[in-house]
């Protein structure tokens, strides 16, 4: 028989992955709910997931491709831009949705127990729907511009996993922080808006780095997506291997993810009281 012990004298934080696994059905159902509800009662439905990146791509192509004419190393500009954009679309969706997810589920949190971590985690899966649609767009671009993917493509899964981890790590941190400090609700849209321009999505990172002293370049890669977007583009389009500083981005992802899990679990204990 299942035995539960609630002991206030135990102070340690237990990540308890086994319990998360026990609640996998709830995880799936919540994910299904979010996907179903996201485009419910919209006339265009899933087309919205296509229209948004397409519009951004158009603007990027006009401004960075035509007007500024950034150096893409011979790759047609739309192909260049959509590589980074696909990851950014997923990242920004998951970060902002996961960030607000716990606040959004406060009705449930106050009425029933389940591992709260399921809430932000499920957003990572919800984001895959839009991600998949953008990836279809990406493939179409490659075909249209007759671009052959580089052989580095075997490393693509690593960078996709890093994208998921970085989106989740920020999402988990933000969701726990927002419970305590609603200030973060205002910060997230700002981070998304800001991030499109500081992350090398519409332009190669050399453009920025070249003019920076070394210490500032290292600082630039504190943005986890900076290294990941570069890596994605490298695995799809080839070219020079990643800047050494990219490893700063990758390390940041791991640090944020693990610390995020622990921080979330520590806030979880009082979540129902303060949300």
């Amino acid at each position: 028989m299942a035995t539960t012990i609630i002991d206030s004298s135990k102070k340690g934080i237990n990540l308890n992955f086994r319990e998360l696994y026990q609640y996998r059905d709830l995880f799936l159902t919540l994910t299904y709910r979010d996907i179903r509800v996201r485009y419910a009662q919209t006339f265009l439905g899933f087309l919205w997931a296509l229209i948004q990146p397409l519009a951004t791509l158009l603007i990027f192509t006009l401004i960075f491709g035509q007007a500024i004419q950034v150096d893409t190393g011979g790759v047609p500009y739309p192909v260049f831009a959509i590589c980074g954009m696909s990851a950014w679309t997923y990242f920004s969706f998951v970060m902002s949705n996961a960030g607000n997810s716990v606040i959004g589920a406060q009705g449930m949190i106050k009425k029933i127990y389940f591992p709260r971590l399921i809430i932000p985690l499920s957003k990572a899966v919800v984001g895959f729907v839009d991600y998949a649609i953008v990836c279809v767009l990406l493939v179409l671009m490659f075909i249209f511009y007759e671009t052959v993917p580089s052989s580095n493509i075997i490393y693509l899964p690593i960078f996709i996993i890093l994208t998921v981890l970085s989106a989740l790590s920020l999402g988990i941190w933000l969701s726990a922080l927002t419970v305590r400090y609603r200030d973060f609700q205002h910060l997230v849209p700002f981070m998304v808006q800001f991030g499109v321009y500081i992350t090398p999505i519409a332009f190669p990172s050399e453009l920025v780095i070249e003019r920076f002293p070394n210490w500032l370049s290292a600082f630039y890669y504190l943005n986890p997506m900076a290294g990941i977007v570069e890596g994605l583009r490298w695995s799809l389009l080839g070219g020079e291997f990643l800047h050494t500083y990219s490893y700063i981005s990758f390390s940041i992802v791991l640090v944020l993810f693990i610390s995020g899990l622990f921080y979330f679990r520590s806030v979880e204990k009082t979540m129902a009281d303060i949300v």
Binding site: I6, K111, I112, Y181, D273
Partner: protein, 407 residues
């Protein structure tokens, strides 16, 4: 811990901060890091539960009683693991389902079917379990026809029935239920209580919080009386404990059911001491008053000063707290009542004739006024009693004697 012990609670306490909680915004947290002190750090502490100890055995059906704010809900929240205790240790043997609300997680855009899966998994069932019980749940809910319709199109009755149907098919070892289940109409409440009795009779452990003493008395074989966060008494004598609790309440001027004693309203002109809802024999009415019965509202009080401007009245509300009507003593055709203020002691009856109120929940409130001078008891601030009417039409409150004829 003995083998048939299901729940063992030791030294349980729960502290909340009230007022401005410490560090509840970023500026203060950052300020705190640099040693800045702000006034709101001195939030007051409040112990919702203090040193609670008890054990429950397999098959116990325990009612938890106590007035609002006594700590009942906090106890349920801790047992359901929604919040953690400040001190203490709890051991629970068995699978727990807690129902602090019906329809947790229901999404209006999803269909009835999708919401059954959603709510079922939230309540701790696996998808497989929900699937195997799906037909039963739908049948129990009685909304078969609309099972593929988004629940936002459901009536509130259908919504609650569907939500309860899911909850009713849980098979936990320990069931924790808050009184919020007592929503919905009388028929639905009966269904809820019936289902809970089934669970208790199957030898599962039930923990039940309610203000409905009849339900506690019928359902439970032991009771815990909580007062100000502490356990006052635990007893197998449920009825004895209930009457102890009710006596304490009345001593403190709380209303119970259809009688409100020791009201304690007093000004220089008059007092209101007691009100009650009575039948034609001037006994307290039954819990559910039938449509065909007269409803007599008794008001007792004393007059200290003969002020001819004094007028007393009642205000009748529906379940949404909308005023349905009011009525004043001195506006009655009976001229004798105008001499009310000459008396020392008043004992008034206001009769709502039978077949006036249709099925539903109503509230009657006492009002007092110095005519054209001032309100002595303002609307919504007077002593009040809530009562239920059964029978008559449903969905509309008033059954006024309108007259039809051929012209």
């Amino acid at each position: 811990m003995q083998s048939d012990t299901v729940i063992d609670v030791q030294n349980l306490s729960k502290k909340y901060r009230i007022g401005a909680a410490k560090k509840d915004n970023l500026r203060e947290t950052i300020g705190g890091l640099f040693g800045a002190r702000s006034d709101s750090q001195e939030a007051t502490e409040f112990w919702a539960l203090k040193d609670v100890n008890f054990t429950l055995n397999h098959g116990d059906a325990v009612g938890i009683i106590g007035k609002n704010g006594a700590g009942k809900s906090t106890l349920l929240k801790i047992l359901s693991r929604i919040t953690e205790p400040t001190t203490g240790r709890i051991q629970i043997n068995g699978r727990v389902s807690s129902l602090l609300e019906v329809g947790t997680g229901f999404h209006p855009e999803l269909t009835g079917k999708e919401n059954i899966y959603l709510n079922g998994t939230i309540l701790g069932m696996s998808r497989k379990e929900v699937k195997s019980k799906f037909d039963e749940i739908v049948e129990f809910s009685g909304v078969e026809k609309f099972i593929s319709t988004p629940v936002k199109h459901y009536s509130s009755g259908m919504y609650v029935r569907l939500a309860f149907a899911v909850a009713a098919h849980l098979e936990p070892d320990i069931l924790i239920i808050d009184e919020v289940l007592a929503v919905g109409d009388a028929e639905f409440q009966k269904k809820c209580l019936g289902k809970m009795e089934d669970v208790a009779n199957q030898g599962r452990t039930v923990i039940f919080v309610s203000h409905n003493m009849d339900a506690v008395s019928n359902l439970c074989n032991s009771a815990i009386y909580i007062n100000d966060g502490r356990i006052e008494t635990i007893s197998k004598n449920v009825d004895g404990l209930i009457s102890k609790y009710l006596n304490n309440l009345q001593a403190n001027g709380y209303s119970h059911g259809l009688e409100f004693r020791n009201i304690g309203f007093k000004n220089e002109i008059h007092s209101i001491d007691r009100m009650a809802i009575m039948n034609d024999d001037f006994e307290l009415h039954q819990e559910n008053i039938h449509f065909d019965q007269n409803i007599n509202i008794l008001i007792e009080g004393k007059i200290f000063q003969n002020n001819p401007a004094l007028n007393l009245g009642v205000n009748l509300y529906n379940h949404r707290n909308d005023t349905l009507c009011w009525s004043w003593v001195k506006n009655d055709r009976n001229q004798e009542l105008k001499k009310m203020t000459d008396l020392k002691k008043i004992s008034l009856i206001c009769k709502i004739p039978k077949s006036t109120l249709n099925e539903g929940s109503y509230k009657v409130e006492i009002l007092s006024v110095l005519h054209n001078i001032k309100n002595l008891i303002k609307k919504t601030e007077g002593p009040a009693i809530t009562f239920n009417v059964v029978g008559g039409d449903k969905g509309v409150q008033l059954n006024l004697p309108l007259k039809w004829s051929y012209k």
